[in-house]
């Protein structure tokens, strides 16, 4: 069997760390090849080497058996290698077509031939079943659609080998299904795919082979039909992993968070939280289940003060906090693990150490009389980095240089450490490896057991069902049902999330 891609004995170093140490990856034509490894294992780095963004210190790359030297992404494009990045690289104000042709515009006498471009995009989109509207503006389409635009971009440049870096981390379950179908179509059309994902289920479902790396070292390649999720997990972590979260029964006490008839408008002026009521008690985890776009983000933004609410009440420990400043709300006892870690969670150009005091920099012992105390700041950072297993060369490393999962762990460490009465966790395990997910879930439950309230928002039904003590289903800006995770099923939840009025709605809503 011929390999389309061979990366042999690749070594890539960063200051203070060997990100790839003698890794070999061989991809067969027409297969979906998974790349599996813990956060910070070096997956993105390896793919960036293949895509020409980094130059390896050692090793060789072969494409279709020929040794190549991929000095930059243009060379990669010419060799038929395309990459869909973890964070999209699209121009918001441009249309889909403009984004796709950017850099390789079809032109006649210096004039961009838009008609031809739109036709080309439409044709590609149909061929691969992507159903993308070539004229839509990027800012108007969903994340899932934006991802398809990224896919189209690589196809438009003639990619034969597509690299997907954690494509499903940002998608809803429905979108994931559709993406998997798209990947299967791509394979049918003769493309090859390298897929990075932390979700073992996805690997079992769609991949042919999987290469595992651990702390920068290649562990080996296995055929998917000959393995199982448990084996993969222990290969990757180096120990056994427990999938089912174990926890004692909750022991809810007084109400920490009480929301009454909350109305919040989104940026277009539509009331996306529309008369929502919900409460969270001390010592319990309330999970919010719902399809993306039913008001989850606006709800969290309203609670944390990032967005104004139109009407209704939000009380924390009995005190009203709606429309107070984010600082006041934070200080009164709310911690927030934000959904978008790059936008809200971190100042990427600050060292990771300075990020650890993003809310507390003006309090003792991190500062006094307006003067920062770097010694105490970095000491705190070192403790958190150790306690939360953030893998970074040092506390002075820029947050930008950390792997996605380790950035997330740093944020979680910071928020949990402030020991808030209410911890809001929005997609806290997005992009984390199974070991880290286990760790985060344990921490959330630990907070609960210490008598704190936890509000969990997640699109992963598994997560909501495993971790929560109560599940609140959100639909069109309202809580339409409260269910007990022990008594419900994925099917029932799925129906409720889709707005079905059957089931528990009527009886349970009265108890909210």
């Amino acid at each position: 069997m011929d390999y389309v891609i061979e990366m042999l004995n690749i070594r890539k170093e960063f200051p203070g760390i060997v990100a790839n140490d003698n890794i070999t990856l061989q991809v067969k034509k027409g297969e979906i090849h998974a790349l599996l490894g813990e956060n910070g294992a070096g997956k993105s780095t390896l793919m960036n080497v293949l895509f020409g963004l980094y130059q390896p210190e050692q090793g060789e790359i072969r494409v279709n058996g020929n040794r190549v030297n991929i000095t930059d992404p243009n060379v990669a494009n010419k060799l038929g290698i395309g990459m869909v990045h973890q964070h999209f690289m699209l121009v918001d104000k441009f249309s889909v077509t403009e984004n796709i042709i950017l850099g390789s515009e079809p032109s006649k006498a210096g004039q961009i031939n838009m008609k031809e471009a739109i036709m080309g995009v439409r044709q590609l989109s149909e061929q691969y079943g992507l159903s993308v509207d070539p004229n839509a503006k990027i800012s108007d389409i969903s994340v899932g659609m934006q991802q398809r635009v990224e896919i189209l971009k690589t196809l438009y440049r003639g990619a034969e080998i597509l690299i997907f870096d954690e494509p499903t981390a940002v998608l809803t379950p429905q979108e994931i299904k559709e993406l998997i179908a798209i990947m299967k179509t791509l394979i049918k059309e003769g493309k090859s795919i390298i897929l990075i994902t932390h979700k073992l289920k996805e690997i079992m479902d769609v991949c042919d082979r999987v290469t595992v790396i651990r702390k920068g070292v290649g562990i080996g390649t296995v055929n998917v039909p000959e393995t199982n999720p448990n084996e993969l997990a222990s290969l990757m972590v180096g120990r056994d992993v427990v999938f089912k979260t174990v926890k004692k029964d909750a022991n809810p006490k007084e109400t920490v968070l009480d929301i009454q008839d909350l109305v919040v408008k989104d940026s277009r002026g539509v009331a996306s939280v529309n008369g929502l009521s919900l409460n969270v008690k001390a010592g319990e985890i309330v999970g919010i289940a719902g399809v993306d776009g039913n008001g989850q983000s606006e709800l969290i933004e309203a609670i944390t003060g990032l967005k104004k609410s139109e009407s209704g009440k939000v009380s924390l420990n009995g005190k009203e906090i709606q429309n107070m400043s984010p600082r006041k709300i934070t200080r009164s006892g709310i911690g927030h693990i934000p959904q978008d870690r790059h936008k809200h969670g971190l100042v990427l150009d600050f060292p990771i150490g300075e990020n650890m005091v993003l809310q507390t920099y003006n309090q003792q012992p991190y500062s006094k009389n307006g003067i920062l105390n770097y010694k105490n700041i970095y000491e705190k950072a070192r403790t958190l980095i150790k306690d939360f297993d953030v893998r970074t060369p040092s506390e002075y490393t820029l947050a930008r240089a950390l792997s996605g999962g380790n950035q997330q762990k740093a944020i979680i460490g910071r928020e949990v450490d402030r020991d808030p009465d209410l911890l809001i966790a929005a997609q806290p395990t997005r992009g984390l490896d199974v070991g880290a997910i286990e760790f985060v879930h344990k921490r959330l439950i630990e907070q609960r057991d210490r008598g704190k309230g936890v509000l969990l928002v997640s699109f992963e039904l598994d997560e909501v069902m495993n971790v929560s003590d109560r599940i609140a289903v959100i639909y069109e800006g309202k809580i339409v049902a409260i269910v007990n995770p022990k008594e419900t099923t994925e099917q029932e939840l799925g129906l409720l999330m889709a707005g079905s009025t059957a089931g528990k709605k009527a009886g349970e809503e009265a108890n909210v």
């Binding site: 006041k328 934070t330 150009d349 600050f350 003006n362 003067i371 920062l372």
Partner: protein, 348 residues
């Protein structure tokens, strides 16, 4: 190559490339570059007089560079330093003329007036940006013209009766120092350099050591995360522009109380504010970098005066060299690219 090293090497290479290009132009136009450059360097530091003049010239450059850099570190482009310099200049002279006080009060008061005027001129675009999301570049550019004409008008109608320049500021409000002038062979060297160096220290201290600086930097890098963390983004935008304007106002005082000792009607801009943009860029928006860049700019400006005297090379050529240095700095991306490319090759 470490990022820090690259940040230091890039401006140095840009300067060398600019000088090289200048040498080529001198050769093409029929001058001897060796003579030209030796005249240039002699004109910078060759005599105590020249050294004094160079220091005098670079003093406002440090402050205007700081002004640009301070705003930039908070993610704002203060193109209005020029106008803030002008109002600072005017305010310092005004206070200098209006009061009769002992020096220990009069001089600080005049400088503070300049700082306050610059700060106020910076406040307006900061406020408009924070409150109405009006882009600061547009507002600051317009504020430059407003400053120019308002200042001219005040000089003509309020401070004088239609004269071209104000009377001289009394000694009690001047930065000028007979002692320094004597020491430097009667150059116009004045005490302002100490204020400029203190300004550089202040910028470093505010940004790196204080909680306020932490906020300003944080807002500059990511205002979403800053808002999430409870910082008041709008207040920081305004504050940044105010502090930036204050530095620029102080630069104006250097001219008003130091170099000239009066204010005069201007047909156009002084250039101090615009050169500040280049100084900040060359200095990498850091305090130490700005001091070094200001030395270079001040030196080139003063040294240039000597070139026509000794070699007949027109001063315009020096302006071209400065422009080329700025050009190479602005295209530092290319240098960066070449550097990293080479270091890649070195590894293989």
């Amino acid at each position: 190559m470490s990022k820090r090293l690259i940040n230091i090497i890039v401006p140095i290479i840009a300067v060398i490339l600019g000088l090289l290009a200048g040498a080529i132009i001198m050769m093409i136009t029929g001058y001897n570059p060796v003579d030209g450059f030796s005249a240039l360097f002699y004109g910078m530091f060759g005599e105590v007089f020249y050294a004094g003049e160079t220091i005098r010239q670079l003093t406002p450059y440090i402050l205007s560079g700081l002004a640009v850099a301070f705003a930039f570190r908070t993610g704002l482009f203060n193109i209005g330093v020029e106008g803030q310099v002008l109002v600072g200049w005017l305010a310092s002279v005004w206070v200098g003329l209006a009061f009769d006080l002992p020096k220990i009060i009069h001089l600080p008061l005049a400088i503070l007036a300049a700082v306050a005027a610059g700060a106020m001129w910076g406040f307006i675009p900061g406020f408009l940006k924070a409150r109405f999301k009006v882009h600061e570049v547009i507002v600051t550019i317009m504020m430059n013209y407003i400053a120019l004409h308002v200042v001219n008008h005040i000089i003509r109608t309020v401070l004088t009766k239609g004269a071209e320049r104000t009377p001289d500021v009394p000694q009690s409000a001047l930065l000028k120092s007979p002692m320094l002038e004597l020491m430097s062979d009667y150059s116009r060297l004045h005490w302002g350099i100490l204020i400029a160096l203190f300004g550089a220290f202040l910028m470093w201290f505010i940004l790196e050591k204080t909680t306020r600086g932490y906020e300003l930097r944080s807002v500059g890098f990511n205002h979403h995360a800053s808002e999430y963390a409870g910082m008041n983004v709008n207040r920081n935008i305004i504050l940044s522009m105010v502090i930036s304007g204050a530095f620029a106002g102080a630069a104006g005082a250097m001219e008003g109380l130091g170099t000239f000792g009066y204010a005069s009607i201007k047909g156009g801009f002084t250039g101090i504010g615009f050169d500040g943009i280049a100084v900040a860029l060359l200095g990498g928006n850091t305090a130490v970098g700005i001091i070094l860049a200001a030395i270079l700019f001040g030196g080139l400006k003063v040294g240039a005066l000597n070139m026509p005297l000794e070699t007949g090379i027109p001063t315009e050529l020096v302006d071209i060299i400065i422009a080329l240095i700025i050009f190479f700095i602005a295209s530092s991306y290319i240098i960066r690219w070449a550097l990293t490319r080479n270091s890649k090759k070195g590894v293989k």
